[in-house]
Subunit: 488 residues, 2 copies
């Protein structure tokens, strides 16, 4: 088998921003490389660039890259042979698999098909309303077939439907204040591209959503983490961080935060929106999981959108059809003042000319029955969360797995700082996990692991059954990895 | 009516790269602003930022912005009032219309509906096969509904279908060498983002495709124009330009080039691919219009893909379903070596997580009958090209409008250098034109106008009938603009 080669040119953008102020250069670089191997962006058993090539590409000394490779080898994440270069590895993993798992999704199927559990991705299956929505979209399509088919800012009916949902939730919105995007991450990149300059600071919750941290880095921003794990959003801490760093932007997920599932209450929204507006910081609110309220029908109503608490123009809101409906629909939206929507539309006109018509038409139909979709989805997710939490605490001794008020994840606490080692070992039984440090700015969260409960209960139970012996093996018990393919 | 205000922050990215080495600063800035007004990216009758605000945003002196505004006013593209600031205008246009035309597409309908002719966009209506392809896609959808729906690199069946079409055309390709994108412009941006560093030179044909020039600018590249209008692609001129500038990338459209419609022959492909590979320049070939061969069934076969002439890895090919099938399908692809496809996939995983499943499934079905679609499309486009050329030379005295071998456009030659003035005047009768200078790097092509023949013949004839009195008015004849709404 010839090894996959990772060139310095490939690697350089992936490690961009690896330097931090607290860690020695080589150690920070080794840590970034370790995370890239762990989350699969650099495949296992790939040949790394030579120490000199990487040093040249990163503009550092060869001493730094040599020390980083050495640290990586010492940690079990690389191997080297005489004259054969350095290649990536996983600590405790078996011999070269014929094909390394590569978690960038290559098929539309998830779950444990092919014996591989994908617990890195968080999207549920489609609700039963999806085929009918597409069928209705097709019925309307003939009206659009004589045209050229481009709708850069979004189909007027979809912009209206999104605006009216915001208005209904307490943030009055007109269609001109809505831009249709290809999902929330796409919206975030458009917004950051428009408002951020290289070097600008961006406040983020700690932990935060890995792809958002990537997008901030890609836009040249520097993420400033503010902890929310223990006591939630501390308005004073955010305000101080904004003052101290002069942050241009804050990226927040007040509605069932990813990964913790936390919900920001109304009075905190009020105080935080005011405090951040006072510093001139634009708040980008990611509402991807806003509809996944799992607190049950007896719970108090969810607070109004964060945007309703801020002065006009100070809050930009990102939404998505991916979690409310289905990831296969690549539709999201940005709510912003009309001037920013026009700027973003011009940027998008130079990028991809807009989202597909059929997807937009289908989303209009799904939004018309959003409560029907959500009633069933919330009930199913609540059941799955409870089932996963129960099997986790039973099968993985020492773990705690509190059930969050909403969202798609258990943010588990491990008894030891072993998240990366466990994620690495889980690969050997074909389960893909996102280790805790991917959710931090600087490699924290080694005693946390995010487990999505988005898949059906049997898939979740099967995945934990595979993981249990791996955990026992890590913690000194007897590991008996099951090498049979597990098809659910 | 309150005026739309364009802020300095909005304007700055749109004029990025306005400085050139040949023109005085104020004149280059005025020229860029003029083009922005002409192609609608800055609306007519919008209030511009103050001279000082714009000077601050661009990092130039107020003398420069003041002189640029003065030049803009002198040319009729701006007005100013005592203490009221400077606002955009069109030379010879009537009073403030209630709403200025804004050519970023806001609906799926094109044509002269609402009395407005959109001759800036070039996409034809959908072929009759489109609804059946979507219906077939919906029939296959249930297989994917249990999954999360993300397919970052593209649905395997679509990557296979695209690869096999390349192979059939003479460029052997595997599915791993294909990335699905949201159209060719999106593919171009992904590729430029991966291979270009700020300041890198990019060879382009002159004239070239405006959105490609925008994408090169957005990626920090500097376009180096090489003329192709008179004698086609001069291999020596391209090789010299590559040597002289050390260009990293060449962006070429050898297959019914936009806007000229030219087709590069096989021996030129061979020589040019070899010459550019020798300089280490990566060739990005945009095949968006490759299928629109209008030379008739008796013509010799089109040459094999440019990629088949270059060494492996030296040519990256962009394709699109927009012109072959329909713009409402936002699907395109990149063909590149497998390592670059993996790099692009990782970038895309951080951007928008992939294209919608249904669109990809529908495209697979359309590709299965691509020749059926194209037989009718080519015949219709040939008829439209002939009809438009005939009415243009009859109704617009002094114009020449040669019929190209393929593509979607007549690249008309005007008897005077009046393209911008004509495009401006055409707005007053509700026809949107892209003036010649949008196709050049530095404001050339004032005696050229691109007219798409992509719409049905009655729409084309109606548009030219509207334009004819405007042209007579410009050239001294009697202008009798018809103010009635024209609905076809």
């Amino acid at each position: 088998m010839s090894r996959r080669r990772v060139t310095a040119r490939e690697l350089a953008p992936l490690v961009a921003g690896w330097k931090d102020d607290r860690t020695a250069g080589y150690a920070a670089l080794a840590e970034r490389l370790r995370l890239l191997v762990l989350d699969g962006r650099v495949p296992v058993h790939a040949l790394l660039p030579s120490e000199r090539e990487l040093a040249d590409a990163l503009g550092v000394s060869r001493t730094t890259t040599a020390a980083a490779y050495r640290a990586l080898r010492d940690a079990g994440f690389a191997d080297a042979g005489q004259g054969a270069g350095t290649w990536t590895a996983l600590p405790g993993a078996g011999p070269d698999p014929a094909t390394a798992p590569f978690p960038v999704h290559s098929t539309g199927r998830a779950g444990l098909e092919d014996g591989r559990g994908d617990l890195a991705s968080a999207a549920p299956e489609a609700p039963p309303q999806v085929p009918a929505a597409y069928a209705a979209a097709l019925a309307e399509l003939p009206r659009y077939l004589p045209g050229h088919g481009y709708v850069t800012a979004g189909l007027p009916a979809l912009r209206e439907a999104v605006a009216s949902r915001f208005s209904g939730r307490g943030a009055p919105t007109s269609a001109e204040e809505v831009l249709v995007t290809s999902g929330a991450v796409h919206g975030l990149r458009l917004v950051l591209g428009a408002v951020l300059s290289p070097g600008d600071r961006v406040l983020v919750e700690s932990p935060s959503y890995p792809l958002a941290l990537d997008a901030i880095r890609a836009a040249g921003g520097r993420a400033v983490p503010v902890p929310i794990e223990d006591a939630g959003w501390d308005v004073g801490a955010f305000a101080n961080a904004a003052h101290a760093t002069g942050a241009r932007v804050a990226y927040l997920m007040p509605d069932f935060h990813n990964p913790t599932g936390r919900l920001m209450d109304g009075s905190t929204r009020h105080a935080l929106a005011g405090a951040l507006a006072a510093t001139g910081c634009t708040v980008v609110v990611d509402e991807t999981t806003v509809d996944l309220d799992l607190r049950g029908p007896a719970a108090p109503a969810a607070p109004p959108p964060f945007a309703s608490f801020g002065p006009r123009g100070a809050v930009v809101t990102l939404g998505s059809a991916s979690k409310t409906f289905w990831g296969g629909l690549r539709i999201g939206w940005v709510r912003a003042d009309a001037a920013l929507v026009r700027r973003l539309t011009l940027r998008r006109a130079m990028e991809d000319l807009g989202s597909p018509l059929v997807e937009q038409l289908a989303t209009v139909h799904l939004l018309a029955d959003v409560e029907g979709v959500l009633t069933a989805r919330r009930a199913a997710l609540a059941t799955r969360a409870a089932a996963l939490a129960s099997v986790v605490v039973t099968e993985l001794p020492g773990w705690s797995a509190p059930i969050p008020p909403g969202g798609l994840f258990l943010w588990c606490r491990l008894p030891t700082a072993s998240s990366s080692a466990f994620a690495a070992a889980a690969r050997s039984v074909g389960v893909v996990l996102t280790p805790g440090p991917r959710f931090g700015v600087d490699g924290a969260f080694e005693s946390r692991l995010r487990l999505p409960f988005s898949r059906p209960v049997p898939e979740l139970e099967a995945a934990v059954a595979r993981l249990a012996p791996v955990w026992r093996g890590l913690t000194g018990g007897l590991a008996e990895p099951d090498d049979d393919l597990l098809v659910v």
